[in-house]
Amino acid sequence: MSFTIQVNNSPLEVHQGETLLNALRRNGIKIPTLCHMSGFTPSGACRLCVVEIEGKKDLITSCSYPVEEGMAVKTNSLRVISARKSLVEMLLSNHPDDCLYCERNGNCELQWLAEEMNITERKYFSQKNSHKRDHSSTSVYRDPAKCILCNRCVRVCEEVQLVTAIEFIYRGNKTTVNSAFNKGLNVSSCINCGQCIMVCPTGALVDIPHTEKVQSAITGKKKFPVAMISPAFVSAVAEHLGLKPADNPWGLIVAALKKAGFKKVIDMGWASDLNIRLEAQHLLKRLEDKAPEPMLSSCCPAWIQYAEEFVPHMIPDIATAKSPQQLMGRMLKNEDYGLQDVAPENIFTVSFSVCTANKFEASREENTRKGISEVDAIITVREFLKLMRSYGLDIRRIEPDSFDKPFSESSTASLQTVYSGGKAEAVAQQLNHLLNGNKSAMLKFTPPKNPGGRKEVKVKIGKHEVGFAWVSGIADVQKYFDDLKAEKRTDIHYVEVMACSGGCAGGGGQPIHWQPDKFRQRKKMAQEMEKSREARVAFENIQMETFINRHIVSEEQEKCLHTSFHKRDVLK
């Protein structure tokens, strides 16, 4: 039902039950917010969204107030404007003046607000709270001094990721966001998904940077730096910079990294294809063995860590294939078939990724062999964009180059892994190939019609009726598992599990952009890019197929493509 309210003396059409903020924003009226996140229950912490409602003694927060018939609202009265300004000034009074030394300089909601509200002098000279920084995590760096206690990270970590690795600690002016006993994130239950970084309005949560070690590797003489570019990374950069598939974003990135000093730049989609191939094989075996539980995908390191901490009983059902990133590193640093002219210990592999959990994954013991890690550094999209700026490279204006052989090709399937559901389909296609051979028709999922419904598809492949499902965002993942168990389902055989809502398109290493549907735009980009690929299914990646058939011949070598997981004790 709709009705009209008065906003700044003009009528405005609003819907019964929506919040005032929603109604105002839908109609293009700008209201500043810091704690608001659409899709979450209002927090009411920042008070920046205040407006004046006729007849109310105090200002009210539009983010939590439902529209009421007959209400008259002022969004820009002097009282409102100066209250907002004071709120920001109060925040700044307890904030380090560190913009010049801040990761979020230029991309910080607090900085924007200060600028928008025309704050040009320090209003209050005051004692600032002192805080300990937390460098302990492999992925997330916390600087509580810059935290404005908007509660966004806590809500994401709890409500979307079900991890609750961080929480408000203490009270009042002493409140901080921290883990139990004020210990570092490394001993907490944090799964390194980076979703908290994505929602943080300030520089309080940022990446554990790998930029410097990468820079010294590429400028130093000792190391042979190799860049591995994931398909998700390419689509993220393309989407962020407004590139079209026709602009050849792959080539642009390759060229830029070569200019920056990488000796080789290779396509991690190659390893995505390999990973799909391995999972499909594994799935086939389980189908034949009539495994009672569905097989769970293994390529998302944050999901793996979640499983190890919270649902270790599910570990036996997780695919054993290494993730694309680790497969790629493993390939490159192999004495027999990698970069034969460079010794593995001299190769410096840098994964260009949209995923913060990859930083953790690379540090796992299983992913180190003879003291040599498979992957030496991970550069997130954010770090990459900064790196490019610091090298003065505008990748839109350079001549494209191409990936280095023999890891230069990838199929459509690898791009499908960018978004939730895509990988399940790719695995199904690969399984179809395994069972029905090359000549069979291309298998396509018809996604469920009901958008809020279960993400499941059942297909007949050979003699098997196979159920595929995909879930993303740990809360949804856990709920799906609980439902499967409660309903005693046996018709689902493969579940694609992604820790980030929407899959890697919503990954924790993506450019900061708190829009709930941003991942859809990235997915769209990936799907457009799919069209430009020749190989449509993993097995059509001839380069990969040939390579594997030639080099992976012994059982020993086959084993190198797999990994293992184990129960993990953390403070949870």
């Binding site: 008070r47 004071s86 005051s126 206690l149 408000f168 009042g172 002016n173």
Partner: protein, 649 residues
Amino acid sequence: MKSNDHTSVKEFLIQKVLRNPDRDQDPDIGRQLLHISGERVDKPLIYVGTTTCARAAGAQKTFDAIARYLEENHIDANLIQGGCVGYCKAEPLVDVQMPGQARISFQNVKQEMVAALMDEILNNHVPENNLLGQYRSPIHQSWDNVPYLDEIPFFAGQKKLIMANCGIIDPVSVSQYIARGGYQAFVDTITRKTPAMVCDIVENSMLAGRGGGAYIAGKKWKISLNAVSDQKYFVCNAVESDPGSYMNRVIMESDPHKLIEALLIASYAIGASKAFIFTRSEFSLSIQRLNQALKHAEEYGILGHNIFDSGVNIDIIVKEGARAFVCGEETALNNSIEGKRAMPVSKPPFPALKGLWNKPTIINNVETLINVPQIMRNGPDWFKSIGTENSKGTKLFSLSGKINSYGTVEVEMGTSFRDIVEKIGGGIKDEQEFKAIILGINSGSYITSKTLDTRVDFEELKSVGSALGSGACVVVDKNSCMLDLARFFTNFFKNESCGKCIPCREGTARMLEIIEHATRKPSKEQSFQTLERFKGIMQLKGMARVMKDTSLCSLGKSAPNAILNTLANFKQEFDAHVFERKCPAGVCRDLKTYFIDVDACTGCTACFKKCPVDAIIGAPRQPHFVVQDKCIACNACFEACKFNAVIVE
């Protein structure tokens, strides 16, 4: 019938009293009740008020001494841990009910005085020491030459309705409570009135919330009553977190059954089957007595499932908070009951529709609720006849500070603050000059000598820019510095802010800093700090406005009140600190200047040795000097000097 014959007493009280609407017609019942209530005794009945405040004055020791005395002298008497009549000054208080004689009260009975006192009174002699007064009684012989309690000024100005039982009955005894008319209103209500009728009655009585907001209780109840839900809750807000108020505690310790009865009626009125009494963990005696009372009431079938076959189910649970002032705020309180951090949430939705576990929940203060049984019994018109045009009934105050007679007092709405201070309170201690009454931290408002004639009335207080608050009533004389108090309040709010929203979390901290600038001497007075001090004071009002305008809950909204009201009422004192750098009351230590009177100084070097920062110079047997730049105003020299040579200004 013997009053120690438990089962027959119980049956009698249930069948003949609670379930018998005609109980008042039968004189025989009335006669028996006098025995059960302890008004007619056949052996001495001794009450020792052992509430928290009385214990602080040593009442537990007095109680133990009396128990020992009775045992050692083989005296057959009943000894009861009683409640509190509210006269803190007289604690420990001992009441004795001798057969046939009026009940008599003794004050300040320390343990060592017990034997002498008992020797006399148990032999029907009135001792000279410790006598306070006697109760008026139509059924007993009064003592000769013993004043009546209601003539003592402290009690004379009061109107004891809701505190009627306090300090009089055995707090946990359900039989005494019923015998004095208790639980009858509840049983009559659930058997003869619909919930809607109860809400109407309470609304018509104009009973307003006593927890600070003064919202009409019955109106609020109706919102929940009309909400459709499988589960509703009633919560009694017994946090009493305003430091300086303890009326609710006195009620809970002295008459827990009345609170239980009130809560039962209220729960019935909105259709709640579960009620909570949410209090503080420090109130361990309240918790203990409430739980005991609940157990006894349950034994009588007054609580629980299908109460007296009415089909009504109500459970009451006592919940202990864990200390945070903000727990008094409704939504924070709900979070705390649910086991979460007590951070308030935005309203709407209001708890009356979405409260505990998202179910309709009504929250009322102890004092609000405690009025309900008498309203049910005597009707709304009776209640409306008490008090003023806008404010009905009585109001409890915790009277403390620089006043002669302090304690918990109950006055009719409309009583003037002058009467409270001068008559009930007996004036200012040590004949000092009255300066102000602080009406609780939460309201942050003052009564000054200019407004002392204001009456206890919501509207009238508002008209003088004040607010009733919860009932804390701390009297200060001219030796208190109002800026120091404002600093104390602001510091309190800074520590108690939950930290959720910006204006309150940051605003209280900034305000405190500004006030501290004014009440403290910077180590070295630098020009820019002076500037900061002026600038800060200029900012106070603006900041206060934003805090009031934008804070999420009333804690942040009322945090600036103390400072605003100090600015409004004690401007000169403010200016003296800021401009002259002087504290007129001599409280702000940091603003004091120390120097040595050259003529009086003998050069004994005592101060020289004591000064922690070597701010004193001088040779032995020569006059000493204070180096002002170094002095941190620690007062050590003043304490050390035996010759009164150190002067403080």
